[in-house]
Symmetry: C2
Subunit: 408 residues, 2 copies
């Protein structure tokens, strides 16, 4: 009999369709990872009776419940009160919670608004769970039959709390053997193609999952306790195509590229037309990126391509701004001017306007300049504007990654 968990996502904006709930999928994946099975995921709005009933029902139905949202300081934050009512206990001010909230304000040199004091109220007998990233403390209630966790709805606050308070306790309480979960991170591969290539890979104790996080596709191997994942990883990577797998349980593509550059003591610069800074932004997501990223040019207007990267106006006139010669000239120009080891350049038609018969929306020219010369690639993406731009960023970074690997 599998151990079931229920998730509750509280928030009128989720219920009303003004926001998409990403918390529940994230928590569900984590809990599945430690061996629990999902029962129901329910979204409920800002109504005391509705939240109270749902908490009470879930505590009867599931062995573990994680409820997110409704712990803020405003009058529509009702989860504390609803939980207390569901368990038939009063709300009481928790001194440690109050101290933590006050400390959070102190550390930001701000005065705690009186309103936030309400966040220190917990159902009597609940266990305080510290929120190190915000002012809303979490709490846990153990009914004997069911273990319930209550966390703020802000992902940045909730996620570390789930990792710190829920996973190990769930394993211990339900005697679960953790599965090993391996993530093969891929680019340049549609989810359906990845699934085709992995067809028939499953075997007793090995479950394959997929997650499309555009433009990346993650292939997940859930491996039962006692099976060594190493040869499975090799086999799966061979099926998917080694050139598509940029990392195994790794950071993002930009982090992988950054790690390669850092290890070699090399640097990169960027010249971006259609992506307008998105490649540079992605390269600087991680702290310490100044070790390998020097800067770059955002060359939206043609005059800027000429001014900042020395592209010959005659080349633009002859081939168009969206062309291989311009991509090459941008890459070589920015590399020469910044003195970086490598450079990446893109010029393309993100859409929805600006396409032509010869260069339809989604056409992007890439160039990567380096110590051994300049390589070029052209893609025609079939997406909308923002997805075309995301795919462009990933393709550019992957072009640099393959150049780095080829030149070791």
């Amino acid at each position: 009999m599998p151990v079931r968990f229920d998730l509750i996502s509280q928030g009128e904006e989720l219920l009303a369709g003004q926001a998409v709930d990403t918390n529940a999928p994230w928590i569900a994946a984590k809990l599945q990872g430690v061996g629990l099975r999902p029962g129901r995921v329910t979204v409920v709005g800002d109504e005391l009776a509705a939240i109270r009933e749902l908490i009470a029902e879930s505590a009867e139905r599931a062995a573990l419940v994680v409820c997110t949202g409704g712990l803020g300081p405003t009058s529509d934050d009702l989860t504390r009160e609803a939980a207390a009512a569901a368990f038939g206990v009063p709300l009481v001010e928790n001194e440690a919670a109050l101290a933590q909230i006050a400390e959070r304000y102190r550390s930001r040199n701000r005065e705690m608004p009186f309103k936030n004091r309400v966040q220190a109220l917990l159902p009597e007998g609940a266990e305080l769970l510290e929120n190190v990233n915000g002012t809303a403390p979490g709490f846990a209630v153990d009914t004997g039959r069911c273990l319930l966790f209550f966390f703020p709805g802000v992902p940045f606050e909730m996620k570390p709390m789930v990792e710190r308070f829920v996973l190990e306790r769930a394993r211990a309480r339900f005697g679960l053997h953790p599965r090993t979960n391996v993530i093969l991170r891929c680019v340049g591969l549609a989810e359906s193609v990845a699934a085709e290539r992995m067809d028939g890979f499953e075997r007793p104790g090995v479950v394959v999952g997929y997650r499309a996080s555009f433009p990346e596709v993650q292939v997940k191997l859930h491996v039962d306790h006692g099976i060594d994942p190493a040869s499975l990883i090799t086999e799966a990577a061979a099926r998917l195509g080694a050139d598509h797998v940029f990392g195994v349980d790794s950071g993002s593509l930009a982090e992988v590229v950054g790690g390669l550059l850092r290890a070699r003591g090399e640097s990169v610069s960027t010249a971006e037309s259609c992506t307008a800074g998105r490649i540079a932004a992605e390269l600087t997501v991680s702290a310490g990126s100044s070790e390998y990223f020097v800067g770059g040019a955002v060359v939206y207007a043609n005059e800027e391509k000429v001014r900042q990267c020395g592209v010959d106006p005659a080349v633009i006139a002859a081939y168009g701004a969206v062309s291989e010669p311009v991509a090459r000239a941008l890459a070589e120009g920015i590399r020469a001017r910044t003195g970086s080891t490598w450079s990446l350049a893109v010029t393309g038609v993100a859409g929805p306007g600006g396409g032509s018969a010869e260069k339809p929306v989604g056409t992007v020219y890439f160039a990567c300049a380096g110590p051994r010369g300049t390589v070029h690639r052209v893609m025609r993406f079939p997406y909308d504007r923002l997805r075309n731009l995301s795919a462009t960023v990933a393709t550019a970074l992957d072009l640099l990654r393959t150049q780095l690997l080829a030149s070791t």
Copy 2:
């Protein structure tokens, strides 16, 4: 007493966190638009008993239920059977449904696989609802107390069915008057501060909601039919501070800024150190941004600040790269070189490293150069690296917005 709807999203991949449910938010927004109030949204997996129980419960709780998913031809598509069981009726083959499925295959010049015949089974007494974009017919069941709709989970198939079959029937059955929903979009204001300022604003027929979408805070007014929202908007904006409200039911901050620039025929360029292209990226989210955005410099390394924007190395040596004089020099340098009407520059310490006692992590200097000179601002953000960068982008755009408004 508001008329309540419940939504059911069926699918193991949604429950397991392998996919995010976007159907329910879309349907919820549509139903709210015609004046229904949301009760619960529940995700349930591929288990007959679980789906049956949820359908039966929802039919008791809500006046209208929309259930998506589980109408495909495979063995894990259980919604038809679960619905029949929930209503205590048998599944019967619906001739019109079978004809529609066969027609769908014929129109694609394909033969209907035998296993698709199961899609023509409907609970006895259910009304067939045609699916013009796929092979899974929908159906409706009216229990008297509750009207239930069952649609396929593929958004492209489901959406036109909701628009064709649900909305007008709901209006007619429940005699609904739609509410007006107004969103005041704010920057530079914490959610708790916004809530404090709006304290006591609610009145009969007017409900206030909040949504934090960092670094933006949205204040929502839900106004009943018959009340004019205009004076409410003015009053709410005055409470929140007109300088914080960048739009009412508007696009993003960057879109508002872009709209102001476009209307004036003016342009902007950027010089970004810590944000490394994020301001330029945000300014180019919308198609047509080349009308007002010319390009910019990503000046991560100090040498790039000198080379690309002509910052005097002696100024960097004297004041540090993160300083007011450098922010001003970056803004003035990029404006002079690109010839844009306006420019935005930022230099700061995003963290987690790089802080000092005098300039701790989160310190950012902003400058906006324009026809009447250069204005400057300094902020000290208390967040982590990526949130400090998001707050920096919003603050920079808002600095330009206020300059544009002040110079009309």
